[in-house]
Symmetry: C2
Subunit: 153 residues, 2 copies
DNA sequence: ATTGCTGCAAAACGTTTGCACCTAT
DNA sequence: ATAGGTGCAAACGTTTTGCAGCAAT
């Protein structure tokens, strides 16, 4: 068991929802929490396959949704019609800037944004759930585009 | 020609990019600008087909991208892995709140958001291009969910 | 004459589903 | 015992592509 604390969170969530506790689900959880950066469900499936896991694609897809429900992962979409996931575990919330030239994703935290979604939801007569804020931009220094690594500021 | 001003914008864009001026492209443009609210490429294709247009699916998909490039349309993604489009023509920029219960999309304008993307891009060493800001929330009064119509505030 | 665009059908892509078997409860 | 999960392959919905013929330049 690679992530004992997260396992406990997942276990409690599963019991609460009358979902069963299976080894496959914890295998997916471990792989997802170990993944550096943002990943598609299929990326994770391929990675696990390469590591000789026998968990099926269907189980990977379904388990990732469960991990989002219990907030161990967040679900992202950077405008490419692919669902991406990212570990939430022991990380602060943040938003993303995507370079339209090279696809690099830069994570950032901005205090001004944090309160807005809740205020706006309330103003419009809604109860806030979640939000997504993505900026699309170009590197000022285009040669940075070559060294394409995720960063947080 | 239903949209003479927009046609002119599109025509100038096409010439500048060495794209050809074809009747099919203007047919797609007219249908897209007439569409109320947000639509997927296939929605527009089906609508045009029902109106006895002979424009092909491939042409609809490709032309919508051209209309985004010349800023007559915006491209949206509300987290469902479907690209949606929306007319920009004679409209002010705005963001979206999506009801997670009924799927209703509410458009809103918030002054605090407007300047942030540019400031943040600059701070991180990027040149701002575009942004997307979506709020996911639930109707406070759930019966509103039945009367499901797009609105702007 | 040349290059780019069109329609069509097929392929691609990420994701979901149906089903028979299996396993946690 | 039973409800629910699993793996597999097939189906799905959206989008892209290859290609032969056509049309704008």
């Amino acid at each position: 068991m690679k992530h004992p604390q997260a396992s406990e969170i997942f276990r409690i969530f599963l019991k609460g929802e009358k979902n069963r506790i299976t080894p496959e689900r914890f295998e997916v959880m471990d792989a997802a929490l170990d993944y550096e950066g943002h990943f598609g469900a299929d990326d994770l499936y391929i990675l696990m396959k390469n590591n000789h896991s026998r968990v099926s694609r269907a189980t990977v897809y379904k388990t990732l949704e469960l991990l989002v429900q219990c907030d161990l992962l967040s679900k992202r979409n950077f405008g490419e019609n692919i669902t991406r996931y990212e570990s939430n575990y022991k990380r602060q919330s943040h938003d993303h800037l995507i370079c339209v030239d090279c696809g690099r994703i830069v994570e950032f935290v901005d205090q001004h944004i944090k309160k807005l979604p809740e205020q706006i939801s309330d103003r419009l007569g809604f109860v806030f759930e979640s939000y997504s804020f993505n900026i699309f931009a170009r590197c000022k220094n285009p040669k940075n585009c070559k060294y394409f690594k995720e960063q947080t500021f």
